[in-house]
Subunit: 316 residues, 2 copies
Amino acid sequence: MKPEDKRPTPMIYERVALIGLGLIASSMAHAMRRGRVAGEITGYARSAETRAVAREIGLCDRVCESAAEAAEGADLVVLCVPVGAMGAVAAEIAPALKPGATLSDVGSVKRAVIAQVSPHVPRGVHFVPAHPLAGTEYSGPRAGFATLFDNRWCILVPEGADRTAVDRLAAFWRALGANVDEMDADHHDRVLAVVSHAPHLIAYTMVGVADHLETVTDREVIKYSASGFRDFTRIAASDPTMWRDVFLTNRDATLDILGRFAEELFVLQRAIRMGDGQLLFDYFTRTRAIRRGIIEAGQDTPAPDFGRAAAAGPGE
Amino acid sequence: MKPEDKRPTPMIYERVALIGLGLIASSMAHAMRRGRVAGEITGYARSAETRAVAREIGLCDRVCESAAEAAEGADLVVLCVPVGAMGAVAAEIAPALKPGATLSDVGSVKRAVIAQVSPHVPRGVHFVPAHPLAGTEYSGPRAGFATLFDNRWCILVPEGADRTAVDRLAAFWRALGANVDEMDADHHDRVLAVVSHAPHLIAYTMVGVADHLETVTDREVIKYSASGFRDFTRIAASDPTMWRDVFLTNRDATLDILGRFAEELFVLQRAIRMGDGQLLFDYFTRTRAIRRGIIEAGQDTPAPDFGRAAAAGPGE
């Protein structure tokens, strides 16, 4: 986590609108306040219950009754809804967007979001897709916390957007604590299939297997989970709607990685069946090097708490 | 973590010998000292370097030059070597075991350890296999810490051993901070295949897939690992020798779980390919319930630090 006093944080947008008020949007609201990044924060969520919670906890300056109302007059509008809902929301707010405004999103898939949203973007509005690589297994407006993006990466996918608008959005994300990178949409989707989408599907699968066993009870699985399985269950507790949309919209890249995964798994399964200890030993030795790289890159710490203690979360 | 003042910790064995001085043995040594559980701790490791480190950090009261020397006169001898080495070590120390002593182990597989060790156990020595379900991705004598077993489960597999000896070993593990359960060897091996062995092989596989990609570099995988992949790399950094032996000795149960995993993965892959969002949504909703059970069972906390901050580890 960066110490707050080292981070320059001038106001970057006069008014920011958050469409959708889940984990990411609520964390953005907290981080914007921490850094005094926006003059006013408006928000909208489709569910009346979510809007009520957002008002109760004072998440935004104004919680509006429609997406268009929240977006009206905003300098930055960020779509924080599941990937599958981006197109419809963009169509709804398009007439309310002010000329010169920046439209962005936080979707985990970029090519499909661009295809859905682009046709609705009015002339004079800058569409700069983005994806902050941060999250927990919690969802909803109460799940957010100000440090979620600290020292994490936010990938911008400008695809030819206005440079001034892109640089301003980059400054915004840096003020929220993130490091910023740029990438093209297809490469983003391939990278995310490896580091996020396939691992999530695999974790969901392993937890499903445990749930379906006859000889080992769910109670036993839960009781003895500390030996490896627990890490899978955390990943597999992530928001079902969000993840359904991720897999359906990043289908090709995810299926490619899962196909490679199945091949590789069969090689190791065969080594176990044939008693090929040397193959297993060599394979397990190579995978250690990647872990060392992650610790050296500062994306985790060697301490057994995963370096997460630094990020004050909803349970703390 | 249990507060120390609530845990009654009389000396349980006069002399405890640790054969093998890796993560588990060194954590046992620290936990024994914390709880004043043993009068004297002797230790032995096959590698001269490990013995030197153990002496340097004062891990045991005596680091011996042979396993038999360490075991001689001990009231409890614990085999803390990889599962594949248990038989040879048992044969080596058998003549040195004192009548009435308890012989135990900490292997992650129980049926194979029993088959290897039992033939060497002298009459009058009580063999009580055990498995503490605790670990980190670190290995070696410097990796141990006193709180590793706190509130974790230790499974005893008595298989008809003397009740007094079993109860005493249970009291020993409780004094080290663990909760104690008993189970038969085959059931232990099936449960562990689900909660630990298959998840480890899957994590190794996913990290291997990432390492083999052409279009996404290792540097990118490492840089963006926080989005799910990082948890896999931690598991896949575990000791290669230990895990090779686990898979080779718990072969049938592990292959059974991996076979089920592959089937289930194909069902989800097909749902992605066919665009069956309802199947994915329902599946992901069910897996959330298991996570809730784990938090309710106290095997993790809802905080994003995984509840590991409580356990002071080697990196702290």
